[in-house]
């Protein structure tokens, strides 16, 4: 899923300054799972904003809405009336959701309420971790299903640097050393020989470094 965090309220208030009719719109997929922008967070954020506006003496009307997916046009169409009513729309979707809304409603002002972080997993309740960088050429088969391009702070492909200590990364004791994880996984799978082979430089042309990417599938087009 796409993992995001809500911006500080003070920053959101700055971003929506001057609004009189504010629509707060969430997304009930990824950002709901990571408790940043689902229906529940829309209600919380709207309540916080109403309180802040009231305290500041500003008359702002706040409406709430939430979409099953903010990145798919058929859902975006559901909030047409609310968007038309508002002078500013605060999106609790990920970066793609905000842009999808703006593409769908070209005349409206959209403001992000979230900082989109990464493609990750819910490791345990309240903990989300980055697992995938969307490099466009998955290599997990070679690394015991632990991605070094994402989970090693230096994106090393040929083994751990000298900063790996007690399973942790030199950058922070909160970060697992990806190469310790890879080593342990491959040892358990009896595949340690894989680590002896030279891994050539990564081809970044398949990644965002190449260009903003688009996938076109003729079989799915109408």
């Amino acid at each position: 899923m796409i993992v995001a965090e809500r911006k500080p309220l003070a920053e959101i208030l700055e971003l929506v300054a001057g609004a009189k009719r504010l629509l707060v719109v969430g997304c009930d997929t990824c950002v709901a799972e990571c408790a940043a922008g689902g229906r529940k967070e829309v209600a919380e954020t709207a309540a916080l904003l109403r309180m802040a506006f009231e305290q500041a003496g500003s008359e702002v009307e706040v409406r709430e809405a939430s979409l099953d997916r903010q990145c798919v046009n058929q859902f975006l169409a559901q909030v047409g009336e609310d968007v038309a009513w508002a002078d500013t729309v605060l999106s609790l979707g990920c970066g793609a959701g905000v842009q999808a809304l703006a593409r769908f409603y070209p005349d409206q002002v959209f403001v992000p309420a979230l900082n989109t972080q990464f493609i990750g997993t819910t490791v345990e309740a309240g903990v989300w971790a980055e697992d995938c960088s969307g490099c466009g050429d998955c290599k997990l088969a070679y690394f015991g299903a632990v991605c070094p391009l994402t989970r090693c702070s230096k994106r090393l492909l040929n083994g751990p640097c000298g900063g790996s200590r007690n399973g942790k990364c030199e950058v922070s004791p909160d970060v697992d050393c990806a190469w310790q994880l890879i080593y342990d996984r491959l040892a358990a799978l009896n595949q340690l020989d894989r680590l002896r082979a030279f891994v050539a430089p990564n081809d970044w042309s398949t990644s965002h470094s190449g260009r903003p990417r688009t996938i076109i599938r003729e079989d799915r087009r109408v």
């Binding site: 040929n158 083994g159 751990p160 640097c161 000298g162 950058v171 190469w179 030279f198 430089p201």
Partner: protein, 309 residues
């Protein structure tokens, strides 16, 4: 084949080699670097110029290497992959060779979060092993890593770092082998305080035939004080300072801590000389370059072999 550098010659002749580290200044004037460098003249066979070490912006290692070369010292150019992509790295390797720099130490580099530019984009387009492979391909095949033919080939004596003290222990010698396979001809190790672990690593390297395929230079950093020992033990990435070393430093009188650190460095060098498979030492006397000749003298490593023309 004629050795391409003084360091390569000394090592290939089987003489116990000495390299020393010199950190470039945080400014445009190379004078402080030249002052430190002149302290190492006649003491070190070659001098490492660090490349923005600990991710702190400094005079470039390339400019620093040229400054020391002009003084008659032989540089070891350190190149990290943290800050430059493969286009810049290959270009700089050509540039280094064109300036007559032959010894190149290929490193990944400390993470940018340790330095004074924490918001920097960490490049890491290549890792140290891929950089070694790149430099060797340029030198031996006259090609860039995409296959493009060079109009002329660079000359290098290629080095790499090794940290016998990092984890996972089982990977350390595999990684050394990968570096040597990728082109490393000499290896400079992390500072040695944990002799037991170093010896275990060396034994494994010897068994894999690696000490026959590359020259291993043991890393030495003299401890100035108990505080430095404690700082290195807890704050420096990849460093292993055992409790007994800290205890020994604590046992010295307050004013004699530096002398104790130097004694320990000398003993470690003598111990390294007695081990099979160690071809030299690499002294990283951070901010204490003036002590290098004294340490080498006490360890019986002076005078150094004359540089060939």
């Amino acid at each position: 084949m004629t050795p391409v550098s003084n360091l390569a010659r000394i090592l290939s002749e089987g003489q116990f080699a000495v390299t020393a580290e010199c950190g470039p200044p945080q400014g445009a004037d190379p004078t402080p670097l030249k002052e430190k460098g002149s302290l190492l003249k006649g003491a070190a066979d070659a001098v490492n110029l660090t490349d923005n070490q600990t991710a702190v912006v400094r005079l470039s290692s390339l400019a620093s290497a040229v400054a020391l070369k002009d003084l008659g010292l032989e540089p070891v150019l350190q190149v990290v992959t943290r800050d430059r992509n493969r286009i810049a790295l290959q270009s700089d390797l050509l540039g280094a060779s064109s300036l007559g720099l032959r010894n190149v130490l290929c490193l990944t580099g400390d993470h940018q979060s340790f330095g004074n530019q924490a918001g920097a984009m960490g490049v890491f387009d290549l890792d140290s092993i891929q950089l070694l492979h790149t430099a060797r391909t340029m030198r031996d095949q006259g090609r860039l890593i995409d296959g493009t033919e060079l109009s002329s080939r660079p000359f290098f004596f290629l080095g790499a770092a090794a940290n016998p003290f990092a984890d996972p222990l089982g990977f350390r010698v595999i990684r050394l082998a990968k570096k040597i396979d990728a082109g490393a001809e000499f290896i400079q190790t992390q500072c040695i305080y944990n002799r037991e672990r170093f010896e275990a690593w060396l034994k494994q390297a010897r068994e894999e035939g690696l000490t026959e395929r590359a020259f291993i230079l043991g890393g030495i950093t003299p401890l100035k004080s108990v505080r430095m020992a404690e700082y290195m033990a807890s704050k420096v990435a990849g460093m292993d300072v055992p409790e007994e070393v800290i205890r020994r430093m604590k046992g010295a009188p307050a004013k004699g801590q530096g002398a104790e650190g130097i004694r320990l460095a000398v003993e470690t060098i003598e111990w390294l000389k007695s081990l099979g498979g160690v071809a030299g030492v690499h002294l990283m006397a951070i901010g204490w370059e003036e002590k290098v000749p004294e340490i080498l003298e006490a360890a019986g490593l002076l005078p150094r072999p004359a540089q060939a023309d």
